[in-house]
Amino acid sequence: MSLPLASLFLAELGKVDPWIAICSLATVFVTVGMGFWSAGKSKNAGDFFVAGRSVSVGWNASAISGEYLSAASFMGVAGMVMATGYDALWYPVCYACGYLFLLLFIAGPLRRFGAYTIPDFAEGRYDSPLFRKIAVCFVLFIGFFYTMPQMKGAGTTLAYIFPGLPYWAGVVVVGAVITLNVSLGGMKGITLVQAFQYWLKVFAITVPIFVLASIVGHYEDHVSANKTAFETAASAPANIERKALPAKAPKDEQWISPFGKLTTKAVDASIAAAPTPEAKAALEANKKPFSLLYTYSLIIALVCGTAGLPHILVRFYTNPDGVAAKRTTMWVMILIGVFYVFPPVYGVIGRSLTPELYDAVGAKGTDKVVLELPTLLAGKNHALLGSVLSGITCAGAFAAFMSTFSGLLVSMTGALAHDVYGRMLKPDSTPEQRLRAFKWAAVIIGAVSILLGMQVEALEINFMVGQAFAIAAASYFPLLFMSVWWRGMTMPGAAAGMLGGGVSALLAITMTSISDVAAAGAKKITDVAQLAAFWQDHPVAKSLGDMWVAHPLARILCEQPAIWAVPLSITLMIVVSKATAAKVPGDIRMKMLVLHAPEALGLKQEYIKEHEGLSH
């Protein structure tokens, strides 16, 4: 940390609740300490890239879970449940259930194939160095996409904890700490840190909510304080406190029932703009079917996207064997399932007790309900308890974006050091050189991530995460699924499907975000003449916005592209592979056998043989 920043930090420290400061700083110091400690234990390239392939099921499951529960899970899910209600419950459920897909179709075979990285798998499966390059680009691309929201989470949380600290300071501090850790200990070091951070996050989300619920009332009581469309009055016990909801908050019936605000946004905008009552009625009739479509597309994006995130996949290579990979996934599902029950509880209780958050947006609004709720206890004669508990949730938030970023950094660094340097630039490098390359690559990727993170202050966390998921769902998931189970797949087919699906999903999402960003800017302008001038300056956003209003279905399909992009990608793979059937690798039977045969048969071969140089 540079000196001016440190002094700024110390000056700010005086104004902050000491418990929050202590818990947050302790998390950072323990993370750094574990990094140094594990640095002594990580020796060879294998340790750095895949933790020596010897991580036990318990450690690995905790580490994957720690890596997976990001800022979006820790703070975003609670905020979304509070903001939009029932529909947001699909997020935690699908985040957790996407792992089932991984387990059923991908985890075991992928581990058995014995590659270091996804690009290794891509090249090994199709004998094509070109395809490795395409896969590397995609790892880096999706990785950076997913890194930006983590950085944003770091910046806003630090600014929340230490008011007055600029946004970029949080990005720099967290980025530097994690980069140091990854370059010191590589995958092996980070495994330990992430496992620790999983347990910290579970502790930080459960303990405060149990204490809180025992004082202000339980989960189900606060849910029942919201009346459904079929009830005349709410059925909550009399002792449940509930503050008046501001006008911006969704109504009870909408909030608690499916097909609410989240899924009807597009049609609602069209209804508002419809010229005649007949047109309004026609649109109103479409509202529910379109909501259903939105829900299904969201489910597909989240489930398939989880199964295709490169930083999660790379961890499967750290298992000793395919059976361990399967056992690990089982435990991951239990660990993250246990975690995901709790963020919605914050959202529900927050709706009752902190409705003022509805009036602000993003990081200042419902997104911070997890951090805000424990402080309520101070007003209920539990001042110290409130401080300690909010200190604990802040520590959890820190752990959340630190662990996800470290996972992303390891997978991107692996891609750069192993695939770009070790395979493309310098194929005859020694293990020592590759180790040094890993450290340098970590520093480079860390620096780029910090720079990118500084640029995205204006964008929304959940939105950016959703984009990364939709793109992964339409590119990596079909690639892995089809490569593992269909022997007729060829390299051109795989590339066409992955690029076709991924790029079209990206384009669709970009179209919605262009108009959304412009619309958010226009909202701030009150003057009519200025508003007209603003739209004149943004003709593309204007015409896109008009198109969404005229065609709400198109808007839904572009905002949630998975429902057509995933089938598109798979269809492209099948059609192009059939057309280029001559290019099916000659030893495809052996490759499939390695992917699927039980390891007891002794077919297991490590694709990368560290000690035999890199000739194959």
């Binding site: 957790a96 089932l100 849910v223 489930v303 039980p598």
Partner: protein, 104 residues
């Protein structure tokens, strides 16, 4: 089980690979179907039976209870069954393959 020093020829036949992949895929698809049926059915129930899904169960609505709480244990059960069967399948395959190899 120790790794055999040389792999038996039987496992290099197309028939062996086809059977291996078919058995494993069958198990995976069966488990996936349980999960997909639930994922498809819940929005449909919400759509066609809103009053039924909105009834109160322990203070939650039925739909909220299913999605927010019960879904997680449901998925754990599927994955537990899958792991047990899948590992048993692998052991059986390995035994069958080495026996076939010994016969030749």
């Amino acid at each position: 089980m120790r790794e055999p020093t040389s792999t038996p020829d039987a496992i290099h036949s197309d028939a062996f690979l086809a059977r291996l992949m078919r058995d494993q895929l069958k198990l995976s698809i069966a488990c996936a179907l349980c999960f997909i049926v639930a994922l498809v059915a819940l929005p449909l129930l919400n759509y066609f039976q809103p009053a039924f899904m909105a009834q109160r169960v322990f203070g939650f609505t039925l739909s909220w209870l299913i999605l927010g709480v019960l879904f997680f244990p449901f998925v754990w059960i599927i994955s537990f069954v899958f792991i047990k069967r899948s590992i048993a399948l692998e052991v059986a395959e390995a035994q069958a393959a080495t026996k076939d190899g010994a016969k030749r």
